[in-house]
């Protein structure tokens, strides 16, 4: 085990998220946390655990059960000097807030030519694989990357989570920060106690290789890493595995550089294939590196079906087998 400096702790992703909010609540009086059950209950995933006690109910606020209300009043709070961090209890419950997000939070800057701005973060746990009830497992990031005026960020581990969340809170515009539930408590990373940020829009190469580029994000990063590690042991080829981290705007340069190197691409995401963020990645590749491709881009995705109840979620989710199958398809085309 590596030695851990005094100001670095081994944290789960959910702890790192709490830490990021605590850091910012502490530093900046205008930061607020609001949502359903974020107060005394500390959030259904305990993301806001302890914050009510520390910062009081003016800063950490239980709201009525109404997502449009949460996002709509947050627009007002944000325009008028606050930096709300609004929690959607699950990503699949953001839909009632769609109008407020689409026509107000993300358009206010343009509509008022910069007079009013909305420095707000919406946090939401997302994704399948934790045996949650219906609707609780949606992975609909692609609905939001198409909304002009919104950045979409998703961490896959504690270190990134803290740095990205602080950067999101400090961003002067609305950021949708979606948290893969499956990563909340699986594994710990070293997380500095102090404040730090990770620039939005920058991907991270989590494994370097030469033959295939694997692009993924969220909970699929761990699954992909495991599948690739295993696969590489049995094969002569190696993969660049890239955790995109920000889904809008994509990290064009990192994608381009890797595709130019390998010429073979696999995209792994759990959302339905059609309309997924894979389309935007294809677009970047088309624009930047099309003729480097030696094989069609392979997609390992969810089906074009609603995310099912949990007895079928493992069938629905990209599996290690599907990931390595795609790597081989890309390699042996």
């Amino acid at each position: 085990m590596t030695t851990v400096a005094a100001d670095v702790k081994k944290l789960t992703m959910i702890q790192a998220i709490t830490d990021a909010m605590r850091t910012m609540l502490d530093e900046d009086d205008s930061v607020l946390v609001l949502g359903q059950d974020v107060g005394i209950n500390g959030g259904v995933f305990r993301a806001t655990e302890g914050l009510l006690n520390e910062f009081g109910e003016d800063r950490v606020i239980d709201t009525p059960l109404a997502e449009s209300g949460i996002v709509g009043t947050s627009v007002g709070l944000a325009v008028n000097g606050f930096k709300p961090i609004a929690e959607m209890q699950f990503f699949g419950f953001i839909y009632p807030a769609f109008n407020q997000l689409m026509t107000h939070a993300t358009r206010m800057r343009q509509r008022s030519l910069g007079r009013y701005t909305v420095p707000m973060v919406i946090r939401a746990p997302y994704g399948a694989g934790v045996k949650a009830p219906e609707i609780h497992s949606d992975s609909v990031e692609a609905l939001f990357t198409h909304i002009p005026g919104l950045k979409v960020v998703t961490p896959s581990n504690g270190y990134d989570a803290k740095g990205l969340l602080i950067a999101s809170i400090e961003d002067p515009d609305p950021v949708l920060f979606i948290e893969p539930m499956r990563c909340y408590r699986t594994g710990r990373t070293e997380v500095p106690a102090e404040k730090y940020t990770i620039e939005l829009g920058k991907a991270k190469t989590v494994r370097e290789g030469d033959d295939v580029t694997v692009l993924t994000w969220g909970a699929m990063v761990n699954d992909t890493m495991k599948a690739v590690e295993q696969w590489e042991k049995e094969h002569q080829a190696t993969c660049d595995v890239i955790d995109l981290r920000t889904l809008y705007p994509l990290d064009r340069d990192t994608i381009k550089t890797s595709v130019e190197k390998t010429g073979r691409v696999v995209i792994v995401h759990e959302a339905p294939e059609t309309g997924g963020v894979s389309g935007d990645i294809l677009s970047v590749i088309n624009d930047e590196a099309l003729f480097y491709l030696k094989a069609p881009v392979q997609k390992v995705t969810g089906f074009d079906t609603p995310v099912p109840v949990y007895s079928l979620e493992n069938e629905y989710l990209p599996s290690a087998r599907k990931i390595t199958w795609a790597i081989e398809e890309a390699l042996h085309y």
């Binding site: 107060g39 009525p64 059960l65 109404a66 209300g69 699949g92 045996k131 109840v309 949990y310 979620e313």
Partner: protein
């Protein structure tokens, strides 16, 4: 205006079991039926909590304490009527005809779990809060258009009244005068948020005033009050006199779900106290004893029967075939699109290890 005075909580039977609305047509058989349905619901609930602890079903949503509200209202509708439950309303659905078998499947994350038996009209439990109010309104509107006298009953919690769909559902029902019973269970909490933080108003019934919808509060732990007041609403609806909003004031004894820890946000002693004083089964037992309709032997027999029924359901479910992925591909559209067929093919190829 004092809303708590304007909307008193109707009680038919006091906590001590005294009948205070003597003009009703209650008899021993009916009382026993009430009690039996509530026992069945409670025993099933307790079983499910245990099954969840043993890891034999997934996260479970208990309703202990809310049996009178659910069973009493469910018994007030008829076979062809429509029921719109949430994730917490299995006491209602099993009373209206959902099988224990399917309920168990539901908690095992099975699609079959949401399908009602042939001839029973029960929607899959709504998960997005308050969304089901509009379905209940739409379905009832359809019945009205068909000139039938069928009604719909929709269940929702105190927290649900904050969502926009609550408002739109009541307004549509009011404007189109649909035969819909809006059965609110005010159990005091939306997960950790007490009703005092959910709203500034003292009652939920008063929310009907904005729509000119007849509204009332009943003691949700008094099955007679729930049953007879819901029946009146159902009769009004059948007659074409439109919707009613009923606030059944009740309490959940346990956790929000088996993943929830209520001690984080409330003193569970209050639940314990309520369990020992205002419990709906105890209330009915006291009433029946006073009427001379109680028999311990009957209760034992009945419970043995229910235990048997539940165990049998569990056995059947354990033998139930595994989920098939084709359930997904086959149930998005009547005829799968090429995208779905392609995905099915790919999935099958990989799982059969057959490289295409």
């Amino acid at each position: 205006m004092n809303m708590e005075e304007q909307f008193p909580i109707w009680q038919y039977v006091t906590e001590e079991g005294e009948l205070v609305q003597p003009e009703i047509d209650i008899d021993e058989a009916v009382s026993r039926a009430f009690y039996q349905y509530m026992s069945r619901a409670r025993m099933m609930d307790q079983k499910c909590v245990n099954l969840q602890r043993q890891g034999r079903i997934g996260t479970y949503v208990p309703y202990e304490g809310q049996e009178a509200a659910q069973v009493g209202s469910a018994l007030a509708i008829e076979d062809g009527d429509w029921m719109f439950p949430t994730y917490r309303d299995h006491a209602a659905t099993m009373t209206h005809g959902q099988s224990l078998h399917n309920l168990l499947l539901y908690w095992r994350g099975r699609l079959e779990g949401s399908v009602p038996p042939e001839g029973k009209n029960i929607f899959p439990p709504a998960v997005p809060i308050a969304s089901q109010l509009l379905h209940a309104t739409g379905v009832a509107w359809a019945e009205k258009k068909k000139n039938s006298d069928r009604v719909s009953i929709v269940y929702f919690g105190d927290g649900a009244t904050s969502e926009g769909d609550f408002h739109e559902g009541l307004n549509f029902a009011s404007v189109f005068k649909t035969p819909t019973i809006f059965l609110n269970q005010n159990n005091g909490y939306a997960i950790s948020v007490p009703v005092e933080k959910q709203m500034n108003s003292k009652t939920i019934a008063q929310k009907g005033l904005g729509y000119d919808i007849p509204s009332l509060r009943v003691d949700g732990n008094d099955i007679l009050a729930v049953y007879y007041e819901t029946r009146k609403a159902v009769e009004r609806a059948r007659r074409g006199d439109g919707p009613t909003l009923i606030e059944a004031v009740t309490w959940r004894y346990g956790a929000h779900t088996t993943a929830d820890d209520p001690s984080k946000y409330r003193d569970q002693r209050e639940s314990e106290e309520r369990r020992s004083s205002t419990d709906p089964l105890m209330r009915l037992e006291r009433f029946m004893r006073k009427q001379g309709w109680w028999s311990d032997a009957w209760k034992e027999d009945m419970e043995a029967g229910i235990t048997e029924e539940i165990n049998q359901a569990l056995k059947d479910v354990d033998r139930h075939p595994r989920s098939e992925v084709d359930q997904l591909f086959d149930n998005v559209f009547a005829k799968p699109t090429w995208t779905i067929e392609k995905q099915r093919q790919h999935h099958t190829n990989i799982n059969e290890g057959a490289k295409s």
